[in-house]
């Protein structure tokens, strides 16, 4: 046994510590990387929550950046998120479209009446089929779209003040920067 091999156990120990540290730093395993990032928002047609007789499709999302937020009244985190959405809406005027995911329309309508309505419009996804198109596997989830309907940012889970500050607001600023840059030319 040479003297250096005495340090092998220490090396192994440090390796284990390193792997453990990296493991703790990793993101929540429940947060899947999005397959839809940088891809166009899928085609759909869905009835409005406010008026089940009116059906809208993908073109309703185009023209300006928009935050598509998947929510439901059965989802407790959505309620916490709702306040933040209202604040963002008020402070930035960001266009928001809700996807009412596997929910009861009557309950959803009264939810918006009670808690406030940050959305331009809300579409119903009663059976979760739009959710499948979007790769949604729970609520809340949110997608930021550019004016052409390309998904530039996705968030699985709630949009809280930290996510807004660290991720969503910068993503939105980049979008607006690109839009402003485009106009200058």
């Amino acid at each position: 046994m040479s003297r250096t091999s005495l340090f092998v156990p220490l090396g192994v120990f440090l390796l284990i510590v390193g792997v453990g540290y990296a493991g703790f730093k990793l993101n929540d395993p429940h947060e899947l990387p999005s397959a839809l990032l940088d891809k166009p928002f899928p085609e759909f047609s869905a009835p409005l929550l406010a008026d089940s007789g009116t059906v809208v499709d993908r073109t309703a999302l185009l023209g300006k950046p928009v935050l598509v937020n998947v929510w439901a009244t059965w989802c407790p985190t959505c309620k916490a998120e709702h306040e933040q959405l209202l604040r963002i809406r008020e402070s930035t005027g960001l266009r928001m479209v809700g996807v009412n995911y596997k929910d009861d329309p009557a309950k959803a309508r009264s939810w918006l009446r009670q808690l406030g309505d940050p959305y331009d419009f809300v579409v119903q996804d009663a059976d979760g089929s739009l959710g499948v198109e979007l790769g949604v596997y729970g609520a809340p989830e949110s997608f930021l779209l550019d004016a052409r309907g390309t998904i530039v940012y996705k968030r699985v889970g709630d949009i809280n003040p930290r996510i807004w500050r660290d991720e969503l607001a910068p993503a939105l600023a980049r979008l607006n920067g690109v839009a402003a840059g485009g106009k200058d030319e």
Partner: protein, 186 residues
Amino acid sequence: MARMSSVGGARTCATGAHASRPRTAAWLLATLQATLPATLLTTFLCVAGATVAWAAGPVDVYKFATPEEEVRYRALIDEFRCPKCLNTNLSGSDAPIAKDLRRTVHRLLTQEGLTDQQIRDYLRDRYGDFVLYDPPFRPGTWVLWLAPLVFVIIGVLVVWRLLRQPAAEPLSEQEIARLQSILEDQ
């Protein structure tokens, strides 16, 4: 802000709601301490639930035109992973999203007539590699695929070095005599 549901993980496996998660180490420790019993219990319940689900299988009633279609359907839902429940396949999960995806697979297979590979691509386009238990070999997954090979090589090297060590030298006459006397004393 309600932080009631911030434990995440096992508790939400059957509901379809994403829990909110502040992500600091201190928070993690405090939450672990405060919620360990509840987490253990819910984990146990989820595991027990999954076991029961595996034994019985969630019941969907679907029609198939041919027995072959049904065989393909069953093979596919066994193959895909439930996005919500991490360690369960579609056929074994009670999560609402697993039900939706089973319905989607059924629709694609029976109504749209997609091949197995097309159905795999369809789900992968939407949910990513995650839904495939069999991850593709590309830069992001090199570690995943090559780590076992590296460990095997390390193992072989260790065994090789151990085997190459020279055998111990035979005892001298003095040592034999000493050994003999020790053994006789016993």
